[in-house]
Symmetry: C2
Subunit: 470 residues, 2 copies
């Protein structure tokens, strides 16, 4: 509980209209996009500038009040649930694009800018910001940075981390720091910029970011390849890379996902094949044409039953929309949808997909899988019902097996969603007790009072790992 | 001093032949490539594997013995000088390429592998490792990772950090951790991989690394453009970027550098122009041809007095060799050569070069400047004589002014060389006291006993900053 006096201090800092304390107002921020996690904050505060953030943090530090910075709450790992109460920090006022620097190819933004708004703004200058998380229509850049968001273009272009050049951040002691710069090269001390990227709000509050841009690719083409076996689809992926082609997008959908998507989007996708690859290449027209032709050849040689290059932009858009609709489509099947993002080296995709299907069968749960075949980032998705406790236990057991298998194959428990509360019990499986110990030491060095998004990343108890045998 | 008993423990761990204690043997490791810094280690130890590194570290921790991990000592910031004695750790036995994974496009190496050896090995598979520090013929990958080395291809391809996917490292408490994986996406906890990259051996000892590779560009072309003014050269750089071309290399040399290089290499470079741009583009032949033509047009339009595209590979090699010879050429002029790497946003290069020349005049020192125009990473270089104390004081004052000016222009004190001992007194100018405080907290969280490369990165005293006025 926050005292009336402290609440008044907050109101003095940000203005009364920017402190929400009503039950209805707080309820809205008691959950994020993750099913089954909810907890009420004591207040919701919307600072107007970095100085106000610093003042709020200083008060919270003195009073040991938890702070949960929040973008649009599209988080899928319960990373923005105020699990220990305290305040939720909103960035609705700090939502400006401060500068697009065409000479240095950078954009400087406040954390509350919506990702797609920024992408559109830089595209108007012929510039390109590649990270494209599926939530980009509503997610904020601040959220993307805190989660190190990925997207469909990870293989060729990398993830959010690869585009953050400089940050302004408020530390848990109220200090305001600036890291990096508009500099392709900067080795002045530890890489605080990239330590903060993906730190899930547990180390500092990001109040400004300068992001790297690249020239907009001149053109883009889209292709769909259908397969009667997952093996053939995966072999195509390997052969494309072996041919030294790095496509902009290399996505795959399994049959259950395909059926759900077609049912939802009605765009004439076939539902009688086992796997689909959605492939995009961008760049200069002659190179795109050459790569598309080669990739079509490879897919055909590797037993694709159909290979179709989109003839028009509208057709291409329909295909990519189909992929982007996968989660929404699967979410219609049952009241609760659990979407995971176990990730493996690209060479292990077939093994991982097979294991996922076997694990689903073993635990008697339904799992559809789609994801980024190019970078091994899979999204096994379980349509279920949170009210069915027996099924939920089986779902959880299945995902534990999936995480274990991913690690066994050289992978990780989360490729782009983050650890949050949901995967905290599994982090030790990936990092070992030594890795957890040093991460906790880093956390303590920033935030000795544990006020910054407490309860995330580090679990009170690590789950016991049962090695998967099939 | 290390006790005989402890020295015997080291000998038991690594074998007697891998512990050097003779004066002559230790002398070799008392300095690195940085002028004017020297300090004797108590012993030089060459472990054979990670387990031995862990055992050595455990002994050092118990006895509070400083450890300085060292590659080939090509460091230019006194980062590998054993300034507080203790042991120098050599990786001459841990110098194997463990795996080239053509399916996942990775190479896994031990830290002692020579950079160029690894580059050649992956090139044989048609793969490409872009970071190309000037020292790559003798530098090691371990050194590159600890320093986050850059090179000539930073603008288009990034630096070492952008290619490190996974590490094995020994922490100061002897724990062995693994970070990352063969994964384009991994957000399981804090980004320890990138925190260790560029940490200059002050946090952990890297014992294995998995690096990202990309397909080898199909072709490459090289061009030289000569200018009668620095402004015109810089304007060409801006216009090339404005035309949405990102060349693989975009280097510049000023007239003093040019004279020194031609005197050294005798390859027919003109010495009567004020600035030279060395431009390379790589990629598919048709795109390289198109980009080269456009860039030649831009340079000509921007008043280049001569634009010459290398007609043969031998000619191209001569041009790039000229640029790579800059430091060696300048080093012949006087007994001591001080090479710095102040870095500014690309848009500020003209201002920075002008400021460097004014600062040189003000302090009556000779400074030649060359560097990476594409990424704003400049190498103001001062041929001097360490025995001339009066001149050395003026040189130091000039470089302090240069660092200050770089920061004023939104830049940094070091783009690719690192902080080490040499730039430690200036780090606070870039990071502020708040930034230094959090970096020190991170250091303490890893290494509470300060045994890992002590005396580097953090200065006992920060230099007083005098704002440059011209």
């Amino acid at each position: 509980m926050i005292s009336t006096q402290t609440m008044n201090t907050f109101k003095t800092i940000v203005g009364e209209e920017n402190v929400i304390t009503s039950s209805a107002g707080r309820l809205v921020y008691s959950y994020d996009a993750t099913p089954n996690f909810q907890s009420m904050p004591d207040a919701v505060i919307a600072p107007r500038n970095t100085e106000e953030v610093s003042q709020i943090v200083t008060v919270c530090r003195e009073q040991k009040i938890p702070i949960v910075p929040r973008g649009s709450g599209t988080n899928l790992a319960a990373g923005t649930v105020p699990s220990e109460g305290g305040i939720v920090l909103l960035f609705k006022h700090m939502n400006h694009i401060l500068e697009i620097d065409e000479e240095n190819l950078t954009v400087t933004v406040q954390p509350g800018v919506v990702t797609l708004d920024m992408i559109k703004a830089v595209e108007q200058k012929g510039l390109f910001y590649p990270p494209d998380p599926s939530s980009m229509k509503i997610s904020t850049i601040g959220g993307n940075i805190n989660e190190n968001s990925g997207g469909l273009r990870g293989l060729k272009y990398g993830v959010t981390r690869d585009y953050v050049m400089a940050l302004q951040a408020v530390l848990p002691n109220g200090d305001i720091i600036r890291t990096g710069g508009k500099l392709a090269k900067d080795v002045a001390g530890y890489d605080l910029t990239r330590l903060l990227v993906g730190s899930e709000g547990t180390l500092a509050i990001i109040t400004e970011a300068t992001l790297k841009l690249i020239p907009m690719p001149e053109t883009k083409q889209t292709m769909l390849a259908l397969y009667n076996s997952m093996d053939a689809a995966a072999k195509s992926v390997s052969e494309i890379i072996a041919a030294k082609i790095i496509p902009a997008t290399l996505e795959f959908l399994d049959r259950p996902t395909l059926i759900a998507v077609e049912d939802f989007a009605q765009i004439g996708l076939p539902t009688d094949v086992e796997a689909v690859l959605l492939i995009e290449q961008d760049g200069p027209p002659e190179i795109v044409a050459r790569d598309m032709e080669k990739m079509a050849e490879i897919c055909t040689r590797e037993q694709a039953v159909s290979v179709q290059i989109a003839a028009t932009e509208a057709e291409a858009l329909a295909l990519t929309t189909a992929r982007r609709a996968a989660l929404s489509a699967l979410a219609r099947l049952k009241p609760t949808t659990i979407l995971e993002d176990a990730t493996v080296p690209r060479s292990e995709i077939v093994n991982m997909v097979k294991a996922i299907n076997e694990i689903a069968e073993k635990h008697n749960v339904r799992i559809a899988t789609f994801g980024h075949a190019g970078d091994g980032n899979l999204h096994p998705t379980c349509p279920t019902d949170a009210r069915d406790h027996d099924e939920m236990e089986r779902v959880e057991a299945a995902f534990a097996d999936i995480f274990s298998k991913a690690i066994e194959l050289g992978g990780t428990i989360t490729g782009e969603h983050g650890v949050g509360m949901m995967k905290a019990p599994y982090l030790e499986w990936k990092m070992g007790p030594e890795g957890i110990a040093i991460m906790k030491a880093i956390k303590h060095s920033f935030d000795p009072d544990n006020i910054m998004n407490p309860g995330k990343m580090f679990a009170k108890e690590t789950r016991k790992r049962v090695v998967v045998t099939q």
